[in-house]
């Protein structure tokens, strides 16, 4: 999102409104599927992902006055909130073991998928499941969340160049793993 829109968002957030403002609703429509995808990839649990996603949007709505356009885009801000909620949920439920387990029903394969595509997706999912949690989170932020390197850097609190390096290495690792599977 460009700066002008972000400023509009900020201005709208700062207005006192009992119901979600139009800008927040626009952010919701734009980011909801991606936030859910990111959270579901992190938690690997559909019910948990739904709960955390709803919680993240609720927190974002309550804290919308804390958003500052100068600190990054509203997507980065929203994903930061979602990440904290997801990590809190992980801590609460001691889901570390599950994070490292095989993918759950969130990646269930549709029966009518073409065989090649299904195999390819299955290989990628398996390789994704073998990644370290931090690496998988990076991939989830980039591909499920659709965030730019700068936005990921904001969410994780690291530099954008670091994000690029780590993402490149992770994708290379993922690619090698998939090729070995194939």
């Amino acid at each position: 999102m460009d700066g002008a829109v972000a400023e509009t968002m900020s201005g709208t957030f700062e207005r006192s409104a009992p119901t979600p403002s139009e800008a927040f609703e626009a952010l919701y429509r734009r980011a909801f599927p991606r936030v859910y995808g990111y959270v579901a990839t992190l938690l690997r649990d559909r019910a948990g992902a739904e709960e955390v996603t709803a919680q993240a949007f609720e927190r974002a709505l309550r804290k919308r006055r804390s958003f500052r356009a100068s600190r990054g885009s509203e997507e980065a801000w929203l994903f930061g909130i979602a990440r904290n909620a997801a990590l809190d949920e992980l801590r609460r439920r001691k889901r570390r073991a599950a994070l490292e387990a095989d993918p759950e029903d969130v990646h269930a394969t549709a029966p009518d998928e073409a065989a090649d595509g299904a195999l390819r997706r299955q290989a990628v999912r398996a390789a994704l499941g073998r990644l370290a949690p931090r690496e998988r989170e990076l991939v989830a932020l980039r591909f499920a969340g659709g965030l730019s390197h700068e936005e990921i850097a904001r969410v994780l609190g690291i530099s954008a160049s670091n994000v690029g390096t780590r993402l490149h290495r992770t994708l290379e690792k993922l690619r090698r793993d998939c090729d070995e599977d194939a």
């Binding site: 859910y36 995808g37 801590r91 931090r134 499920a144």
Partner: protein, 327 residues
């Protein structure tokens, strides 16, 4: 051939239609708050309660300490319209009262009052006459008086030192205040009962000793013994005289109030006086505010520091705990 990046986007989990509909509804309603109590989840609330209680206790302690900074001399407020100067139970200290003065049925209070009257210099003579008249009407007397009439503005003025029976002080002040515009008026009282009782007791003792010596003088059988008793009688008689003089002085000071009346030119003092008073008031208010702010800062700054450091530690600890979830 699809790239790895394409596949990663394809396998992104998508929300169920039921969840999407539920979220749409909650977004429209603005996520209404659940009515369940959140007290157990708020671990910082007890800390806040303790901090608020501590702050309140400290503030009360500070205010009580401030009240304790009274002069040790028992100054008595004279706002009361009670005209009795000798027996005045209202001025008796609470409880046993021993800390201020010995228990006694007669309280001795030395009273004084200052009155500044502003008037046109042309009226000064008439006002001076009225001051003498009012003082006489209340069985008092004028100890000292000066009246100056000058041509130049602000040069005229007068002052009177009056002795008025303490019982007549309030009505006399009331009448004096009606003579001209009252620029300032203050009254004060000092409880001297302790000193009075001490002098009285010493006088009684000295008189008893003198009576005893006189009896012994009558019974003296030798000139030597009679001479010795007479020498002692002379010393005791001198002491009795000194104590009686002190008693007289003390009675006068407590039975008669001292009243200082100052007469000023209403034109000369009006503007300057009011401006000075306004400046004094402003400075006084500023000092009060600064005192309060310094006291408040003395309490709030350490509390804020402790709170800020605690908040910082809590935030960092939470961040580390979250990071450990992905370790």
């Amino acid at each position: 051939m699809r790239t790895l990046e394409d596949v990663l986007e394809e396998i992104t989990p998508t929300p169920d239609p039921g969840f999407v509909a539920d979220m749409e509804s909650r977004i429209r309603q603005g996520f209404p708050r659940k009515r369940k109590s959140r007290l157990p989840a708020l671990g910082y609330r007890p800390v806040l309660t303790v901090a608020a209680t501590t702050l309140l206790a400290v503030l009360v302690a500070v205010s009580l300490t401030g009240e304790g900074e009274q002069p040790s001399t028992p100054r008595v407020a004279m706002e009361s319209t009670d005209e009795s100067a000798v027996v005045d139970p209202a001025f008796a200290p609470p409880g046993a009262g021993g800390a201020i003065a010995p228990r006694t049925d007669i309280r001795r209070i030395e009273r004084s009052a200052q009155l500044t009257l502003a008037a046109n210099p042309d009226e000064f003579d008439q006002i001076a006459d009225d001051v003498f008249r009012i003082t006489g009407q209340h069985q008092g007397f004028v100890l000292q008086s000066t009246l100056t009439q000058e041509e130049e503005e602000g040069g005229s003025g007068g002052s009177f030192e009056l002795r008025i029976p303490a019982a007549q002080l309030q009505p006399a002040l009331g009448e004096l205040s009606r003579l001209a515009t009252v620029r300032a008026r203050s009254e004060s009282g000092t409880d001297v009962t302790g000193a009075f009782v001490s002098i009285r007791d010493r006088l009684r003792t000295a008189r008893a000793l003198r009576a005893s010596l006189l009896r012994r003088l009558e019974l003296a059988t030798t000139d030597t013994a009679a001479n010795a008793i007479q020498r002692r009688l002379a010393i005791v008689g001198s002491r009795v005289g000194r104590l009686r003089a002190q008693m007289r002085d003390m009675r006068q000071r407590t039975e008669f109030a001292t009243v200082f009346v100052e007469l000023v030119d209403e034109d000369a003092g009006a503007v300057a006086g009011s401006t000075d008073e306004a400046v004094d008031d402003a400075v006084g208010s500023l000092e009060d505010i600064l005192t309060f702010l310094i006291r408040a800062a003395g309490i709030l700054v350490p509390l804020a520091l402790v709170g800020g450091i605690s908040w910082l530690f809590a935030t960092r600890a939470r961040k580390r705990a979250r990071d450990r979830a992905l370790a």
